[in-house]
């Protein structure tokens, strides 16, 4: 997989295929058992902790639940990376924080504690925090999950406009097909640890008829073996209750007579 600079790349796939794991590999939080992850030429699995820290200052990550510091206000959350990594005077930090919060449309909530924010607002504050150090690469972990349609629209516009305005490279992990196709330049569909399809949204739509899994995933059809599985579980239940499976109904009845 190669992620192009300056574009929005989406990684899609069903739950449990390792999308979030992939983001953690890119961030160097876990090390690959085999293979390599290169970020701007740096091998994140083998880098020294110094190099890793230097690289992480150039990354921003939006966590699935926001992961705001619950004992700091929204503004202090956004100021946190600035206070940790720069020696800017407090007045300037306040100015930058106000700008970042303005960019996500939440300047009015600056003094609120994270517990007082709605889920969508918390995620936008977290986005402002991730942008505080002006990263070159933004990683989004399931940004649309559990959001109402209006919030999804707001986030979509934010991600797209930020990417363009700030010249970011964005990597988006998601399983929301319609949303992702609206903004992504490049999409990787993974299943069971492998890339099953890649390309722009239009290319994927063209590939759809030829790749069974892709069609199923994009159309949201249930698994073919789903009915098989439910048959199996019905049999299991019947056995556990001491009944014969439904197909043997007649013989079972005969037996009781």
């Amino acid at each position: 997989m190669a992620i192009p600079r300056g574009k929005i790349t989406a990684i899609m796939g069903p739950s449990g295929t390792g999308k979030t794991t992939l983001l953690r590999l890119i961030g160097g939080q876990i090390k690959p058992k085999s293979g390599r992850v290169l970020v701007d030429g740096l091998d994140m699995g083998k880098a020294s902790s110094q190099a890793l820290l230097a690289m992480r200052r150039r990354l921003g990550m939006l966590f699935q639940n926001g992961a705001l510091f619950t004992d700091l206000t929204a503004a202090d959350n956004v100021a946190f990376p600035l206070r940790e990594h720069t020696r800017l005077p407090p007045a300037l930090i306040a100015r930058i924080v106000a700008l970042k919060l303005q960019a996500v449309g939440l300047l009015a909530a600056a003094d609120q504690m994270p517990a007082a924010l709605s889920g969508g607002m918390a995620r936008r504050v977290a986005l402002a925090r991730a942008l505080a150090l002006d990263p070159e690469l933004m990683l989004y972990d399931e940004p649309f999950t559990g959001q109402d349609p209006i919030n999804v629209g707001v986030l979509l516009r934010l991600i797209a406009s930020l990417n363009q305005a700030l010249g970011l490279t964005s990597v988006l992990v998601s399983h929301d097909v319609a949303e992702v196709f609206a903004i992504a330049d490049c999409v990787f569909v993974i299943n069971e640890g492998r890339v099953v399809a890649k390309g722009s949204p239009d290319e994927l739509r063209a590939q759809m008829p030829h790749v069974p899994f892709l069609r199923q995933f994009l159309e949201g059809a249930p698994d073919d073996n789903q009915s098989q599985a439910s048959q199996q579980s019905a049999n299991y239940l019947a056995n556990a209750l001491g009944l014969k499976p439904p197909s043997d109904k007649r013989s079972a009845l005969r037996g009781t007579r």
Binding site: G27, R56, R57, M61, F63, F80, H85
Partner: protein
Amino acid sequence: MNRVLTALLNGLAALGQGVLSAAAHTGQLTLFIRQLMGRLIPAWTRPKLIVQEIYAIGVLSLVIIVISGGFVGLVLGLQGFNILSKFNATESLGVMVALSLVRELGPVVTALLFAGRAGSAVTAEIALMKTTEQLAAMEMMAVDPLRRVIAPRFWGAVIAMPLLAGLFSLVGIAGGYFIGVVVLGVDAASYWGQIQQQMQPMDDVMNGVIKSLVFGVVIGLVAVFEGFNAEPTSLGISRATTRTVVLSSLLVLGLDFILTAWMFGA
């Protein structure tokens, strides 16, 4: 016969599992200590964070420590007076109360209360930060959680513990004074005079300080370790908090015996 064999095998398996998990825990702890050691000195580049933790861990434990110290002193004064009056030696009440507190009860009871009040709070806070991905988020912001979150809390415990133990002893001696001198009529001059005469600053006081320092290290270490390695679930947090209190209380009592044997043993 078969049932007995199965039971035996199950017992053996449980024993093996226990040994394995204890070994894994020890290994984790060793690794954690090594990682933490490298951050202890760098943490002092931000003294404000450590002062904050001394406040959160130490100052907020003051109420329970002062009240408990007062009551322990009162009880010591009463019991001591009863026993000493049988030997007509009530003028030694002061030194009896003071030595009991400075050598033993001050450090040990403070440590037990401290583990329950502050150790559990530190564990729960860190474990919850881990569960809500705050530590992971910090890591992704190129901020080292061990240095920013863990090391200051450890230092807070190590510094607060001897101060609290000293305060406990002081309040206790005052409590003994109140019962012995004010209520039961022991001579005030002999209460203080005996303390002054018989207590050795280097032996008794220093040994008490060393004990409370060791307990501070143990409780601080257990609290941050259990929080940092908690399973990120609600059950995991509750288990980690319980383990902090149980493990550090047991370690405090065990170490107290070893330290006492070393310091005061023949």
